[in-house]
Every structure is written in structure tokens, then in C-alpha cells.
């Protein structure tokens, strides 16, 4: 059996600083995040937002890449199905990631680590609530090495 590459376990004694990568669709969720900003709502700084033209632009490769690089949670936020600026974009997101989320859970990844949310441009508070709840559930899960690439050293 091939000798597996020895994985370095990041010492978990440092205080657990979860990192959540959020893919936000430019027309709805990104605007929702802006609205959360303009209304001075508060959500944790662990959330980091990547702008994508539409939620259908996010590929499972990016999600797994984020987990590999040490993200503890990934959210894909898009317009409510039917409201997509590109009319059918989020219907495909919904199908693709329903299957992908089931597949991830089947392989043993907690559902809380990977979420999809429909957040429109008018729902600033929903954006903040979703992000706060996501962080709570990730904190409850605690640090975990799943899907993580041991060779990628994060600046702690």
C-alpha cells in the first residue's frame, strides 16, 4: 500500500479562529451584504466575501478548494429562485448544490459546514442573521481537519 504523505496537524491549542468563505452573487447577495453594511448591522469578521456574477458561477471545485485551503465553512448566497438577474441562473445552482451537499454529507462532511442561502438585495438583516448563525454552528463544531490540505500552512 503506498506510504501516504504524512499530514501535519495544525496545533489546535491556539484559539479556534474559524474562516468562512462566502460566494455572493453580484446582483442580490452582494447587494444584500452592502445593505447590511449601510444599515450598520454586525456580523463576525471571519466571513470573507468573494463576488461572483451569479450563484451559478460557483463550481464545486471552488468549494472543495476552499475546504482544502483551510476554510471551515463555505456559503453560496444567491438570489431567490425566480429572481435571478440572469432569469434561470439559480435554478441550476439549486439543483447542482442540492446534489453536491448530499454528496458531501454522504462522504462525512457536516451539513453546517456548507450552506446555500437565498438572500435578495433588500434583505440586509437576513444576510447578517445567516452569517451570525453560520459562525455559531461552525464554532459549535470546533476545529476540524476534514478535507484540509496539510501542506498548506496558514498564517496564524
Amino acid at each position: 500500500m503506498s506510504l501516504k504523505l504524512e499530514e501535519k496537524a495544525i496545533s489546535s491549542k491556539q484559539q479556534f479562529e474559524p474562516l468562512i468563505v462566502a460566494f455572493c452573487c453580484n446582483w442580490c447577495s452582494y447587494a444584500g451584504a452592502d445593505l447590511a453594511g449601510t444599515s450598520r448591522l454586525n456580523y463576525p469578521a471571519n466571513i470573507k466575501i468573494i463576488k461572483v456574477p451569479c450563484s451559478c458561477r460557483v463550481s464545486p471545485n471552488f468549494v472543495l478548494r476552499a475546504f482544502q485551503r483551510g476554510a471551515d465553512g463555505v456559503i453560496i448566497a444567491g438570489c431567490h429562485p425566480g429572481d435571478c438577474h440572469y432569469s434561470t441562473g439559480n435554478y441550476f445552482t439549486r439543483r447542482r448544490f442540492t446534489l453536491f451537499a448530499n454528496l458531501l454529507e454522504y462522504v462525512g462532511i457536516e451539513r453546517e459546514k456548507f450552506k446555500i442561502e437565498w438572500i435578495s438585495a433588500a434583505e440586509g438583516n437576513k444576510f447578517a442573521t445567516v452569517m451570525n448563525e453560520m459562525l455559531d454552528s461552525i464554532n459549535k463544531l470546533g476545529p476540524s481537519r476534514k478535507l484540509r490540505d496539510g501542506r498548506w500552512i496558514r498564517q496564524q
Binding site: S2, K4, Q68, R95, L103, V107, G108, R148, R151
Partner: protein, 327 residues
């Protein structure tokens, strides 16, 4: 199956002779009892060497992709699961079905040489003949007979499509399989496992992978010109043997055949380290059947694949749990 072999050779001879096809994709028998290997023949006297026995497990529809580029019209022998893959390749625009003549072979089930070896019957074994579920082992010492399917591949045991779904000529009468359709027992069994146990199970399985990509190359639907895993420039994954790379490869490959996989089980058969890959694909098939209707990716060519289309009122597991949504 010998009767069918004769019919096979006749029809091959006839179609090659009258120019209905330019080349024929079939199987030939090698020296050993288990060795039926795929061949491409174009001259008439080679048709006599064609064989249809219990070891013609290879799916010939994948060869059509490369062969159709070189030849005009091709005759191909397809079993039930092969024809499913054929239809899916047509849906994927990988083969042009007009230029293919299909000889349908209802399949009683293929024998797994490993199981014969484990049963110790391979000592001095010369030939294996199968008619229906009666299997005759002809060895140097003598002849042994078995009734039943204990030597068949696991995938053949729960085969749900023994008879070709599309064919121009049907070489023998249909095979009836009566066992009722259990609803993905292997998948539900894993789903019942607790989450951590599932993660350990799959990580252990994936860590066995040596990245030989046999599962990808045997799969009739994994037929990209340059696979994203071969294309270092894509920067998607590397051949390093780290846990996360293995998980990435297997999850993404299962996702790439999602909605197209015809559950022919070839990936698990050829895996040299025995990873139960079909359990990944069957999980997605089970989900698609439950959520978007039984998609049988194979029979209806006009229907677009599940991930290629949508319904406005699709099941939406992500909706409405948070307040602040639309009133």
C-alpha cells in the same frame, strides 16, 4: 451462449460483406479461459474468431468515440448496460448514432475471474461455458457443473437492464430478471452510518487510491479530450498522494458523471485497490431519482440530462428557514 456466438459470427460476416458496416467492434478469445478481449475487425475471415461468452464484460461503446472518427459506419455488439452507455454518449454528442449499427446481446450476467480463482477452480481450467444460469467448467482433469449465479460480478447480480434498450438486430431472446428492485440497499446502508464513521470509511477508501485513473479511463462517460485532472494548467488537482487530493478527485469525478452515470459498475471492477466507487455514483443516482424523477439516463435521447435542465418548483432544501424572507 455458443448458439449466440454462431449467430454473432454470421451477422458480422453478413454485414461486413454487404458493406452495411466498415468495421465491427466485438470480442475475441485469447489463450486463457478468462481472456475475452475487445477487438476491431474489418476483414471478413476474422469474423470467425468473434466470441460471445461469460467474460465479454468490456463495454464497447467507449471505443466508438475514437473509432467513429476514423471509420464511416461501425457495427458494434452491445449488452444491456453497454446500450445504456451508448444512449448517454449520444445525448452527450460524443457519437453520431446514425453511423452505428447495433447488434443487441441480452446478457445473462458476466463471470468474475477473481471469484473463480477464490473458489480454486482455476487450476488447469481450459474453458468455461454458460447457458442461462448453468455454468460448465472444463478443466484438464474433467468437467464440473454449477447452477446459479454465485460466480457473477456483484454489479451483474443487481443488474436492472439485461436486455439492450436500443438495437438494430437482436441476437437472442430477452433475459428476464425477476428479483425485485431493492431501493439502493448499499447506499442506504452507508447513509445510516453515523457521520464520523462515514467520513473515516470514505477517507480510508480514498487513501488506498494510487491515482492510476483506471476508473476514469474505463468509464464510457468520462471521455473528455483532455481531462481536467490531466491538465496541470487547470491547476485543479495534482497527483500528490495527500488525503485531500484523493477526496477532491473522487468527489469531483462522481460529480462530473452526476446525472449521466448509467451505473454499469465498471469503475469498481477495474479499480486495482478495490475502492467501492459505484457507491458514490449510485448515491447521486438515488438522490436524482428521489428529487427530480427517475432519470434512467439512457432510454430517452430527447430528454435533457437532470443537471442540464431545471423545474421552477424543484425541491429547495435551502429555502425559508431564515426570517426576513419574502412576506
Amino acid at each position: 451462449m455458443d448458439k449466440t456466438t454462431v449467430r454473432m459470427q454470421q451477422i458480422a460476416l453478413q454485414t461486413l460483406a454487404n458493406g452495411e458496416v466498415d468495421v465491427i467492434l466485438g470480442w475475441k478469445k485469447g489463450d486463457e479461459w478468462y481472456d475475452s478481449y475487445p477487438v476491431v475487425i474489418n476483414d471478413i475471415n476474422e469474423t470467425a474468431e468473434l466470441i460471445w461468452d461469460a467474460f465479454c464484460v468490456n463495454n464497447l461503446s467507449k471505443y466508438l468515440i475514437t473509432e467513429l472518427k476514423k471509420n464511416l459506419r461501425i457495427g458494434v455488439f452491445l449488452k444491456g448496460c453497454d446500450s445504456l452507455a451508448f444512449n448517454q454518449l449520444v445525448i452527450d454528442n460524443r457519437i453520431d448514432s446514425e453511423r452505428v449499427v447495433i447488434f443487441g446481446l441480452p446478457c445473462p450476467g458476466m463471470i468474475d475471474p477473481q471469484k473463480v480463482k477464490h473458489a480454486g477452480l482455476n487450476k488447469g481450467l481450459l474453458k468455461v461455458e454458460r447457458t442461462g444460469d448453468k455454468i460448465v467448467f472444463i478443466t484438464k482433469e474433467g468437467v464440473k457443473e454449477y447452477i446459479g449465479r454465485s460466480f457473477d460480478y456483484d454489479k451483474c447480480l443487481n443488474c436492472r437492464c439485461p436486455n439492450p434498450v436500443v438495437s438494430k438486430y437482436m441476437l437472442s431472446d430477452a433475459v428476464t430478471r425477476t428479483d425485485e428492485e431493492q431501493y439502493f440497499p448499499d447506499v442506504t446502508e452507508i447513509e445510516k452510518m453515523p457521520l464520523e464513521a462515514r467520513y473515516d470509511y470514505w477517507t480510508k477508501q480514498f487513501s488506498k487510491c494510487i491515482k492510476c485513473y483506471a476508473c476514469r479511463n474505463i468509464c464510457p462517460l468520462c471521455s473528455c479530450e483532455t481531462c481536467v485532472f490531466d491538465n496541470i494548467a487547470a491547476g485543479v488537482s495534482s497527483k500528490a498522494d495527500a488525503d485531500c487530493e484523493q477526496q477532491f478527485f473522487h468527489i469531483i469525478r462522481a460529480y462530473h458523471v452526476a446525472g449521466r452515470c448509467v451505473d454499469c459498475g465498471e469503475c469498481s471492477r477495474v479499480c486495482p485497490v478495490g475502492i467501492p466507487l459505484e457507491k458514490l455514483n449510485r448515491k447521486i443516482i438515488k438522490d436524482i431519482n428521489q428529487l427530480y424523477g427517475d432519470y434512467t439516463a439512457d432510454t430517452d435521447i430527447a430528454k435533457s440530462p437532470p443537471l442540464g435542465t431545471y423545474k421552477v418548483d424543484d425541491f429547495d432544501p435551502f429555502d425559508g428557514s431564515k426570517q426576513g424572507g419574502k412576506k
